[in-house]
Symmetry: C2
Subunit: 359 residues, 2 copies
């Protein structure tokens, strides 16, 4: 081959390689494990929504496949699976991992704490997101807000609660931190699998069941049996989370990191709004079909006792975990500030218009 | 040149053209006009935030340049400029254009209407976004939620309002629809330019001034003069908007349409949360420095009269504009449903915890 031909062949090869490099964006396929089953709306929709945005904005080159709990069989193992890199990503709730370190508890919600918009302001403008990274980076993970359920209800009760005495010996299904508080008030906290709860409530094996809010409660059917629906105190704005294996994240092209962050943020906000709609719709349906349901607020002496039990537990955890203390100090300071605003804005607006029957 | 050389040259040219076509995504430069000045936070941040996301996710190929009102000099001309294609995009508020058709009024907020999360649920899950398109498509535009101010305050008053009589002849700066309602209650509604308002309030040329909420009010300084800060009734969740010229939108590659939609949605939600933080922070500062400020709720007889005036105006507009009627019917039905949920969730949570001093 002559010099000219050789040169031209070389140029051709360079161009082919270069054009291939430019045109094909990096193909990446991730796996996400979620705590929930494949149709537990709105939770299951949120990871799907996030993955859909990522796929669209990457021209189909960054694909996140989702495994629901029926596939991986470890609903509360998301933390470990993402930490170990078995999944690049997870969709779960931080408070499920309080056994590893109590500092993971307040990253979801806290009794007597912030509502969803208050807590989003803390995450994005009050230092919350940075504290969340501080807690997770020790485990080689990044964590981001993953959607809000809205204010959760206090539970379905077959008996009215008029005093602290009415709680003594009451059998209730209420898991987690709220369950610990209820047990301090003399409630017998039971742990019955979700599939058996309806029958347990119907037969009186339990007297009360805490679940979520109308949007998710309606499929459980508790409103067909229990007449008293108590308002919330324990989960005023539960934010679930996206977990990401840090090493895998660092391997991503910069652009995919940006796409992923925007997708998580939008899907999370959207879940809060989807929850709002689902709760409103389900509550309307329940009320129409079961007009005897009575919405009740726990008596003041009960709420005060819950708060005392809560304060004592928080004080003991603060001694146990400096990171828990750091997060709680930040949350308390932010709540002090933000609640005063909520009070003079939405709260007094809702109070004055509802008391005067103006809507 | 021999056959071989000719063939190779041709191949080279084809490859060069093809690789250029693949690698360079379409370069697009848009202009956005906004109603606000360049530093009117959080409003001005929102268009910037949106444009930044668009630029990042398009690798810098889709650039939206922003003109603030000091550049285009037509703060309330955004509708016309976007309609005529002088700007591809705008950031403004729908209720500024109620003079064109009263149907544009309820796409921002309505007195005695929905709070921000309630209204987002209406937009995204209750048919609101579709009605918004129906209103704007006649004008060759698309419209999307563009950020929420949160619940706005009723205004700064130098005198306490204890009865309907106290409003008769009161001189107040309160523009737009709320001003129309106030004038029905005997208030003398004045229109003083923002730059002169502080002096007007100080000298008693006006007795009261409505602005926004603490976050934006603090820079105006009204809290240094007026002692009574009345809670809101007239703008419970003002959603500003992004307007897009439909022809220009249709020219966009599909991917840029997706990027633009995600960017607008995220920036809008973020403005609601940024407003929450700004209001909370400013209110804390005001209270600390001016502890004499008294937060007041209008007396029930005043609120009821406002509501009657509001109902009458709405009834007359419904006769005037079928599109206004259609939007109001949708909003009323959604409010009926969603407020019941707000009432048993956030409202009773805030009520029971604040009455028992649990936070």
């Amino acid at each position: 081959m002559g010099m000219m031909k050789k040169l031209l062949y070389s140029l051709l090869i360079i161009l082919l390689v270069a054009s291939a490099g430019f045109t094909a964006e990096k193909k990446i396929r991730w796996k996400l494990a979620m705590t929930w089953g494949p149709t537990l709306h709105p939770l299951s929709d949120t990871a799907e929504h996030m993955a859909e945005i990522v796929k669209e904005l990457s021209d189909g080159n960054f694909v996140i496949n989702i495994d629901a709990s029926n596939v991986h069989k470890a609903p509360f193992g998301i933390f470990d699976m993402v930490k170990l890199g078995q999944y690049e990503m997870g969709h779960t709730a931080s408070y499920y991992y309080k056994g590893k370190n109590i500092a993971f508890l307040p990253l979801t919600t806290m009794p007597f704490g912030m509502t969803a918009p208050e807590q989003y302001a803390w995450f994005y403008y009050g230092g919350g997101l940075e504290l969340m990274q501080e807690a997770y980076t020790k485990h080689g993970m990044l964590a981001f807000p993953g959607g809000n359920t809205g204010n959760q209800m206090g539970g379905w009760f077959t008996k009215e609660i008029n005093s602290l005495d009415d709680l003594k010996g009451l059998k209730m299904r209420i898991p987690g931190f709220a369950g610990q508080i209820m047990s301090k008030l003399g409630v017998t906290v039971t742990n019955i699998p979700p599939g058996e709860l309806y029958t347990a409530l119907e037969r009186g094996t339990v007297d009360a069941v805490e679940w979520t809010g109308p949007g998710m409660d309606i499929n459980m059917g508790f409103h067909k049996i229990a007449k008293y629906y108590y308002t919330g105190w324990h989960e005023p704005g539960s934010e679930v989370e996206f977990l990401i294996n840090e090493k895998e994240y660092n391997k991503l092209p910069e652009k995919y990191k940006k796409i992923l962050k925007i997708a998580m943020k939008t899907a999370a906000y959207d879940m809060y709004i989807q929850s709002y709609e689902m709760n409103a719709e389900a509550w309307q349906q329940m009320k129409e079909k079961y007009p005897d349901i009575k919405v009740k607020v726990f008596p003041e002496e009960v709420l005060k006792e819950m708060k005392t039990a809560y304060d004592n537990l928080v004080a003991s955890y603060e001694k146990e975990s400096p990171m828990f203390k750091k997060i709680m100090e930040s949350k308390r300071a932010y709540l002090d500030k933000v609640r005063d605003w909520t009070h003079i804005s939405d709260y007094l607006y809702l109070k004055s218009t509802s008391e005067s029957n103006l809507n």
